[in-house]
Structures are given as structure tokens and as C-alpha cells.
Symmetry: C2
Subunit: 332 residues, 2 copies
């Protein structure tokens, strides 16, 4: 079968190649991949920016497809089912945090950027009926991360002021969409006026361009502060978020693309009773609740562009530049 | 009446002087102060380290005494009652955070370091029966802060591993005592072996000397990490706490005596699903629950030394040096 492997993380080199489909183990199924989607994680794997990167692995965490073969001890009902894959492997039984065995599909285990993939049957869920294959493939990793950040970690309530920073990234767009569906007052920030326009179109109340030095003053004056902030950047910009959070507010961050924050304003954090909470991915329960939520509210992922597997390098380039608005989808 | 006023914050100068007892307003009572206690806040007021410090104010947040006079619209039942004073004024009705009107007794309003004090009747609670006057006076501000940090903010559960940093300070000693009563596994840190010994005597499992460079490795190896950490220092030491927190753990800090943390390890915080939460003082509900808790568990504050009001400057000196173990109490 055709598959996109990480040929060399040292040279950031991908390879579209023919590989043998793996033999099915007990409790596994084979899925014919109808669509897959990129995450920043895939680009970071390509660049070797994670510990324990293994060359030769098929990349890809997000995918949806049809079950084409069953390993031992798998119920026959699964054959021919249209499914979406939960890419969180071995979370464990603690809702608060993943266990030591936790992995994400697509490194070090083979991922979704291939014609077929073998996954444990307990990772499968019915494909949401209101979504195309491309949309279903775009949902898992970023949708799960956003849903846990908003719901289990952030405890978003209807009517609250929600700020989603860096609108345009996968998690951020889902956080904004989920927040709108949960009847929060949704605000976004971005450095791109085009992305802000898109957020307003979706129903966001205001978008703040964080390159404007006064954006925190503006936001405070207009909103009175945010109850919940979902952020993937951290870095020194975290102090801006401390500034625009309401007393008692929550800042939930799922990444640190700007690196470590320096000189965090400690006095403001304790006097204002703020909560700074880290989150990553989500538990099996988070995934189930996320699927129920998107079905209930008929939410469809934003898709920036769809590529053939042959053109995957173009999708990685676009991810690297960060100009996309919505998910980048690969179709084998 | 005799009272200890802040003569000059610029010169860090206190003055024991004769002042006229204030006239009672409606809803106020006059209390003959039986005992009062120092907090770091009093020393910081003396040094002018808060915004809006006003010279001439009588210092002191903690106090207990007997009601000697009633203002208009106060129920006659209060006369002659033995009471403890809640020093949190105008918290407001949001349990998550104090409102804009919030103040702490003893600056800018006149405090407890005097023979008499006038306070709103809704700040009064019956003095806990199992405490002496000195013990009752030692409880309010630090006990409230510790109780909210552990309970409303930290959600401490029986059987959890609790680390209290900087054992010896007022809030830290209450946090350790409350944690023991709540059946947590209590650990402390300190730079003083004498303070660590005292914590072990009280029932702490281990004390870590944070001047030992390996204390985080030791603590992780011995405990497997902490579910909840109560800290008043922040600063760069916060990264040590991030290191020894269990995945999903909570770090609640009520002060920043070491200043702002630099270069916080963001990746560790989100990957380990950590919670860094600020807290200060507590709501009226926190105070009521704290009083019920100390009565139920017959907890008595640790008292380092009792001074006459005439010797208050010695108590302030000791607070400034930070060598005390337990509260410094003043008796008018």
C-alpha cells in the first residue's frame, strides 16, 4: 500500500512509498483510510522536534475510513463500518491526566497517512453522520484537545466570556466553534485580519489583533474581562492573558508555541484568584462527549484545503507557514 | 485608649499612642480586644509595601475580644459576647473572587492593635470554645487563607499527598494542621531543621530542606509526587513545585515572597495537566467553614510568642526576620 513515512527527521524528509500493510493483532481492525488530516504534531515529528522520534514510521494522527478486516477477538459487527479513529492511545483510567503508557497515533505507532491502518478496535467510533469523510478526518486530535480544554478543564458555562487566542489553528477553531455552540460569548485573537473576519462570520463577537499594543485595554474595556481563555501559545504573551482574565477566571493552555513564559505576574494571579491550567489531548470520556456534542450541535470542522497523498508535502509546507484557516486534509 | 498606629510608612515607624475610640456607626459594635495577632501584612504595611498605605491608621487584622457597646440597628444579644473577628471586609457574593470593594481590616480601616475596635456586626463569630484568647486571635487571617487554599481552591481529599512549602509561616502552619485533620499525607518544606522537626512532631510524614539541591528528586522518589501543593513563595522555586507535582496536580499559591517566577516550564505544565492557582484571603463562606472545621477537629493555632502592646516593636522585628514558628500575639 501507499504510505507517507518519516524518511529522516534529521533532514525533515518525508517519503511517499510502498509498504506492506501490517498483520492484524488480536483486538485490532484494519481500516481503509478515506481521509486523514494534518496536525502541528505531524510537522513537528517531521522536524524531529519531539523526543523519541523514530524514522520509518507512517505519520498521521487523524483519520476516518471503513473497516476492511478484523483481527482475532473482534466482534464481526465492525466489518464495513464507517468509523472515526480516537488517536489517544492508552490514556488510562484517570480523567485528570494520562498515564505513563499514553501515546498518540502516528508516532511511534504507524499513523493514518496511508491507504490502510491497523488500530485497536476500542479506538473506533461511528463516523458522525452529518460530516463528509474529509470533515470527519479533520475532527479527532484538535477537536478532542479543544473539547477537553473547554469542558473538562475550562468548565465553560453558557453566557460566559470566552477568548480563544490564535484563531486559525486547528484547536483554536474548534474551541471557538464549540464555545459558540455552548452559548458562550466568543471572542478571538489573531494577527490576521482575514482570520478575524472568518471568526466574526462564524459568530464571534469581536476579534482582537494581538499585534496591536492596546489590544488588552480594548478587550477589557469592551468585555469587562474573560471568564475562560483558551491558549496554545504561552510565552510572554501569557501575561497579556493574565491581564484580560476576569477575577476568578481560567486560562487553559494546550501548547506553548511561543515557549516558556518569563516573569509571570504572580501578584496579579493570586490577588485575582486566577487559574492557569495545562491540558493536552483528552481521555476516552472526553472523546465520547466531544462526538456527542458535535452531533447534537451539527458542528462541521473548517477545512482549509484537501490534498492527495501525493501532494502531502504541500500540506506540510502550508502547516509550517501557519497561514491555513481550518484543517489540511489528505486523501489517499 | 492605647493603640499602635502606623506613624510613618516612609520611615517604617510605629507609634504606641493614646487615641480617641471611634464613634459607633449603625450595624457596628465596639469590641474590647483581648488578644490580637501579627501577619506579614502588618509588617508590609509598616514598610509601606502596599499601594494606598495611609499613615495614622491603627494596624492589625487579627483579633478576638468581648463586645462592649452596640451601634444602631444591632441586636442586643451581641452585648458581652466573646467573639472572633473575620478580617475580610466586603468580599461580595462571588465565591470565586472578591469584589472591587474588598478590604482587609487594619488598613485602610483601623485594626485590632488597640484596646478597642469598632467592626461591622456581620464580621463577628463566636470565639471557638476550645481556644484561649491568644489562640482565637491567631486564627482569622492566616487560617482563612489556608482553609480557602486547601478546600475551596485546592479541593484536598483524604489520602492525597499534600506538600506545604515554607512551613513556619502562619498560613503554612495552618495548611499543614488542616491537611492533617483532613487525613491527607502531609509533607512540608523549610530551610530550618527546627521547623521541620516541629512539623514531624505534629504528624507530617517528611520535611524537605529546600536548600538541599536534591530535594525535588528525594521528594519524588519518596512520595511519587504531590496531589496538592500550598505555596506562598512563587518565584523561580515554582518550577521545583511543577517538578514534584503529580500529573493532574494542583499548585495553589497565596503569596509571592520570592517575586515573580521566571521561565516557567510550560511544556511540563500542559503535558502533566497541572493547575497553577492563585488565592488570597477567603469569602464569608470560607470563614464559616473554617471555624466549623477547627471546632470539629479541635485544632489550636501554634503560638510562637505573646507580647504586650508596649513590646509590639519586638514582635514586628521577629516577623521581619522570619524566625518565628507559629503566630506572634499581642495583648493590649
Amino acid at each position: 500500500m501507499k504510505a507517507l513515512t518519516l524518511a529522516s527527521s534529521q533532514e525533515s524528509k518525508l517519503l511517499l512509498t510502498q509498504v506492506q500493510a501490517g498483520a492484524l493483532k488480536a483486538h485490532e481492525v484494519q481500516i481503509k483510510v478515506k481521509a486523514a488530516a494534518l496536525n502541528h504534531r505531524d510537522e513537528w515529528c517531521r522536524q524531529g522536534l519531539y523526543p523519541n522520534i523514530q524514522d520509518g514510521v507512517i505519520l498521521g494522527s487523524d483519520g476516518a475510513g471503513v473497516v476492511t478486516d478484523l483481527g482475532a477477538e473482534v466482534d464481526a459487527k465492525w466489518l464495513d463500518q464507517e468509523v472515526i479513529i480516537n488517536p489517544a492511545l492508552n490514556w488510562g483510567d484517570d480523567q485528570r491526566a494520562q498515564g505513563k503508557e499514553f501515546q498518540i497515533l502516528g508516532m511511534p505507532s504507524n499513523g493514518t497517512f496511508a491507504e490502510f491502518i491497523n488500530v485497536p478496535v476500542d479506538r473506533l467510533h461511528p463516523k458522525p453522520k452529518h460530516m463528509t469523510w474529509e470533515e470527519a478526518a479533520a475532527l479527532p486530535l484538535a477537536g478532542l484537545t479543544a473539547f477537553r480544554a473547554l469542558n473538562y478543564r475550562g468548565r465553560l458555562q453558557a453566557g460566559e466570556n470566552l477568548l480563544v487566542t490564535g484563531f486559525g489553528g486547528g484547536v483554536a477553531q474548534f474551541a471557538a466553534q464549540f464555545g459558540l455552540a455552548a452559548q458562550a460569548n466568543v471572542f478571538v485573537s489573531s494577527s490576521s485580519e482575514a482570520k478575524i473576519s472568518k471568526a466574526l462570520q462564524l459568530g464571534a463577537k469581536t476579534g482582537y489583533n494581538y499585534q496591536n499594543e492596546n489590544w488588552t485595554d480594548l478587550a477589557l474595556a469592551e468585555t469587562g474581562g474573560f471568564d475562560l481563555i483558551i491558549d496554545g501559545a504561552a510565552g510572554d504573551a501569557l501575561n497579556d492573558l493574565v491581564k484580560v482574565a476576569k477575577p476568578g477566571g481560567r486560562i487553559v493552555f494546550y501548547g506553548a508555541t511561543l515557549g516558556n513564559p518569563g516573569e509571570l505576574a504572580a501578584r496579579k494571579i493570586f490577588w485575582n484568584q486566577l487559574n492557569i491550567m495545562g491540558t493536552t489531548m483528552g481521555s476516552d470520556l472526553d472523546f465520547e462527549e466531544m462526538l456527542a456534542f458535535v452531533s447534537k450541535h451539527q458542528i462541521k470542522p473548517l477545512i482549509d484545503e484537501v490534498y492527495n497523498l501525493e501532494n502531502a508535502s504541500k500540506a506540510f509546507e502550508k502547516m509550517n507557514k501557519g497561514n491555513q484557516l481550518g484543517k489540511l486534509v489528505l486523501v489517499p
